[in-house]
């Protein structure tokens, strides 16, 4: 799979913290990477060049902050990939990808609605699915006590850790205990 190898190399060049290989049959992903927030756009650009399309943006609350997962798929060949980035609760700001993938605009607005994260550079940052006068807490925010640590969610397949700070976050072995595979 040279496409994936190239992609992994590109991501490393962009400054990815972790690049993981996944078992597609189990995780539904082939390759994923954690990038610093700053490098997200560059990493996505590599995907755009490789002919990938943005499927969705899925934000998730973990103990360490908001983990945004961008799923990409290539129309030419099978192989879903994901980009992740972690932003702290105090500064929930992410770069918008809508300059690269125009479809990202709506996904980002949806995430802003549900989690209260902000995407700077989004051309039309108004509520998408929630009403404009919605005044509750973002509906998908969890109770702080119910938050799981990143290491407990088994997100990282077979990781190649490039940023030592992430070794601790991912935890031992990448996959948590209790995994049947």
């Amino acid at each position: 799979m040279t496409v994936l190898d190239n992609l992994a190399a590109d991501w490393k060049k962009c400054g990815a913290c972790v690049v993981s290989r996944h078992d597609f049959r189990k995780d539904g992903l082939t390759l994923s990477a954690v990038t610093p927030t700053k490098a997200l756009k560059a990493a996505a650009e590599a995907l755009l060049r490789a002919g990938y399309a943005l499927l969705d943006v899925s934000v998730m609350e973990v103990r360490e902050g908001f983990l945004a997962t961008y799923h990409f798929d290539s129309f030419a060949e099978a192989g879903r990939t994901a980009l992740r980035t972690l932003v702290p609760f105090e500064a929930p700001e992410l770069p918008s990808l809508s300059g690269l993938f125009q479809g990202a605009e709506w996904h980002e607005r949806e995430c802003s609605d549900f989690f209260g994260v902000r995407f700077f550079g989004n051309p039309n940052p108004v509520p998408l699915l929630l009403p404009d006068d919605f005044d509750g807490p973002p509906p998908l925010r969890k109770d702080p006590a119910a938050l799981a640590p990143l290491s407990a969610l088994g997100l990282f397949g077979v990781p190649e850790i490039l940023d030592p700070a992430w070794a601790e976050l991912i935890g031992p072995g990448g996959r948590p205990k209790g995994d049947r595979a």
Partner: protein
């Protein structure tokens, strides 16, 4: 005239002291050029199929800028997924997209099964394929009727409903319901196919093939329809990629992308079919792709009825009420009638999922409407909107 930069060339007077429209209109009007009218199509408009709202900046009959406004049918399914066990959340999936509920059933069940390492028995797999394809046909049929209705032909939808009723009757035998079906279970399906189901399905396939010929004469070959659609709203592969559009929209654009072929799941590798491609990338191409898909689904149904193996329809030890998913993450996608239906499931090992993200194909497909409709006539914009095959509950979730 109001202070929102909204200038009305026809002199239709606004009430003094009131602003024009609500928050979204005001937001949209900020970028409007003077001399153009802002038209609200929806949320109650005959061609928005439910409660979609389109803001359009018009110059005469031309749409210069359009912006869909969503959320009128938002129900926060993703939150419900976090507070319910997978078994309890299953009926929700039939309500996300009421036209192709079994694809959503499959996407969610498949994701949980992947995570839990469950492998449904052979017969259950075949039944899943069979029912999902029947459901896809009924979804496309309804789209066909509704699309022609968008173009002003009211009669075809009634003919489509005749067939749809037959499919509903057939699917009701196994699923028990006619609309918001919840048929798949973790590790299998909930009811077995009986002889009546199989007999009716066998009868139905040649019947619909015969009716498709009538569709061709009545609608497909009709000169008015062809001239309304040919060359209208071209959407190419690059545009699909930028917006993440999938399904018939993408296949009409020329990419043979079909998850049933590319990432085979269920029994699709054992079926002889090929994604419909080779059509023009305009509205007419999208129309033809869906009609071709009805035919290919009929082939799959025929093969599935013939090849349905005997055996159990549930795994030996089906998940009980205290079922806990192992911690982990998975993404499972199936090919729905509108495109890739994806479920991103994260579990922390508890009873309820930690996070469920539902990827609705219609959401991405609709997001390209603004670009596709730019500079078209109002009637063409309506045609483009119809050709995207929108199901609003799925988009709003």
């Amino acid at each position: 005239m109001s202070g929102l930069g909204f200038i009305n060339p026809f002199g239709v007077r606004e009430l003094p002291g009131t602003t024009t429209g609500d928050f979204y209109t005001a937001n949209f009007a900020q970028k409007a050029q003077p001399g153009r009218v802002i038209l609200n199509l929806g949320p109650q408009h005959p061609s928005t199929h439910g409660v979609l709202r389109i803001l359009a900046e018009m110059e005469g009959e031309y749409v210069w800028r359009a912006e869909p406004v969503l959320g009128y049918l938002h129900r926060m399914h993703e939150r419900m997924a976090e507070v319910k066990t997978p078994q309890q959340f299953l009926p929700n999936m039939g309500r996300v997209d009421y036209l192709h509920p079994l694809a959503w059933n499959w996407a969610y069940v498949g994701a949980v099964e992947k995570l839990a390492g469950l492998e449904p028995p052979e017969r259950a797999q075949w039944l899943r394929t069979l029912s999902c394809e029947l459901n896809r046909i009924s979804s496309h049929l309804l789209w066909w009727g509704a699309f022609v209705m968008d173009l002003g032909g009211v009669t075809p939808i009634l003919y489509a409903f005749e067939e749809r009723e037959k499919i509903n009757d057939i699917l009701q035998i196994i699923t028990g319901s006619r609309l918001t079906m919840s048929y798949f279970r973790l590790g299998g399906v909930c009811a077995d196919a009986d002889d009546r189901f199989l007999a009716l399905t066998r009868e139905f396939v040649p019947y619909l093939r015969e009716r498709l010929k009538m569709y061709r004469g009545l609608v497909t070959d009709n000169v008015i329809l062809r001239r309304r659609l040919e060359g209208v709203g071209p959407i190419d592969v690059d545009m699909c990629r930028r917006y993440g559009a999938t399904g018939p929209v993408l296949r009409a654009a020329g990419s043979p992308n079909d998850l049933r072929r590319d990432v085979p799941y269920g029994t699709y590798p054992q079926h002889d079919f090929w994604p419909a491609t080779g059509f023009p990338d305009d509205c007419f191409g999208r129309y033809l792709v869906r009609l071709a898909e009805i035919e290919s689904s009929l082939d799959i149904v025929e093969q599935a009825v013939r090849g349905l193996p005997p055996g159990p329809i549930m795994v030996d030890k089906p998940p009980k009420a205290n079922f806990k998913m192992p911690a982990g993450e998975t993404y499972f996608a199936v090919e729905g009638a509108r495109g890739q239906v994806g479920v991103h499931l994260v579990s922390d090992g508890g009873k309820n999922p930690y996070r469920v993200k539902l990827r609705a194909p219609g959401f991405s497909n609709l997001s390209l409407f603004a670009e596709a409709a730019q500079g078209t006539l109002l009637a063409d914009a309506v045609a483009i909107l119809g050709s995207l095959d929108l199901v609003i509950p799925e988009i709003d979730r």
